[in-house]
């Protein structure tokens, strides 16, 4: 039996335009009576075998799909350079200066709650990491900066982060030292920024 080429065209158009795979009964209902659906499908399958798009049978239904060897083309890697939000920037700075710091401590210093996205961005950037847990009730996770952070900011060591006096000299600060900075300076003197009360993972 020869296949009517018009029927092949119709099946082609239906499968192309359909928003979901179609079974043979559905195709038959849309085509003229007596159309040989299996033969039309076989002809299409054969015709598209080596094309960029193939006829595929999924769960007993038919659809066109991108050839498996070309599916990589449909994925695009896009490098986007993004700027940190103010919240992320401040959070990062606080973690850098106060590490290890818990979420609650960051919130306390910033005076506002920390949205989930803020920490996520810093994790995604690869600049912070969980460091351990505080030995306080609730055993909160502490965060610290990563080696990537040091590399990105061109620091050899976290202790190279400018202290209060340097920041002031650089014109970044115009206020009097607060508790935070006296802590810092004390820590510098002690040559120890790391919380003693910390278990490493």
């Amino acid at each position: 039996m020869t296949i009517d080429p018009e029927h092949v065209r119709m099946v082609e158009a239906l499968l192309f335009a359909a928003s979901e795979p179609l079974d043979e009964a559905t195709l038959a209902a849309r085509l003229p009576d007596g159309a040989d659906i299996p033969s039309a499908l076989a002809a299409i399958e054969e015709e598209y075998r080596y094309k960029g798009v193939n006829l595929a049978r999924l769960a007993g239904k038919w659809t066109f799909l991108t050839a498996p060897d070309l599916s990589w083309m449909l994925e695009e890697e896009r490098e986007t350079t993004r700027r940190l939000s103010r919240a992320a920037l401040e959070t990062l700075a606080i973690i850098a200066y106060h590490q290890p710091a818990t979420r609650a401590e960051i919130e306390e210093i910033r005076g506002v709650g920390l949205s989930r996205g803020t920490m996520d961005v810093l994790f995604e950037a690869g600049w912070i990491r969980p460091r351990g847990r505080r030995r306080t009730p609730g055993r909160p996770v502490t965060y610290g900066i990563t080696e990537e952070f040091l590399i990105h900011f061109g620091l050899d060591d976290i202790k190279d982060l400018p202290g209060f006096e340097e920041m002031k000299a650089a014109g970044l600060l115009s206020i009097e030292p607060s508790g935070i900075f006296s802590d810092l300076r004390k820590a510098e003197e002690e040559d120890e920024l790391i919380d003693e009360e910390e278990e490493e993972y």
């Binding site: 192309f16 979901e20 993004r82 600060l173 607060s178």
Partner: protein
Amino acid sequence: MDKGSFDEAGEKNPDVIPLPTTSLLVDLDGYEGPLDVLLVLARDQKVDLLKISILQLAEQYISFIEQAHSLRLEVAADYLVMAAWLAYLKSRLLLPVEEDEGPSGEELADRLAFLLKKLEAMRNAAEKLMNGSIVGRDRLQRGRPEGVRITRNSTYECTLRELLQAYADQKERKGIVNPLRLMRDAVYTVEAALERLEKMLGTLPEWTNLMAYLPDNLTDPFRQRSAQASTLLASLQMAKEGNLEIRQSATFGPIEVKRRKPGK
């Protein structure tokens, strides 16, 4: 006809043609303005619009409007303006041409014919456009395009200076000498909640709403939220240590706690 009576027509800037009123739509059923009526009448002549008899058309239009009048239909101003203008045109076409009086009657007639031709062309074009192959109606795009998946690799940009500035700005914005202590005042710490919970738990032996253990002097909503969170954390810590049982019967329902008897 007195030319002065056409000043009104002259003032008719296309920008300020009044919108068809409801009565117009009812009375001149289906017509969209005087030009539309003219076009319909012109088509009756069954010739190329550029070769149309404007004189005949003007007479037809004027009698059409008069008819509407005799039927006591309310005729919108722009229909009347057109009738008046056509009457003027008619007079110019019939009377000998006077010198220095602007475009001749023939010129005006040609322009009107052209205007009608143009409107007809646009009508036909609109129709052809709708009868053409419309994508989504007559020719379909793929029903289930796989699409192109975009995997985004974000690189974040931030300089050390920005980082320091952010830290400094943050301090500056607070504008307070010792922000740490102030903040601690506002936050009800987990330690404090733990202390309170441990102390009070024995006094309430049965299942009790956890919120009953909140300090009762909380007026500031921030402090209250902070206390709720800290008390919950403290209860979880105590449950972990085996000193407390917690239950919650429904999502977002009240959380109840009870001291866990040793050895149980």
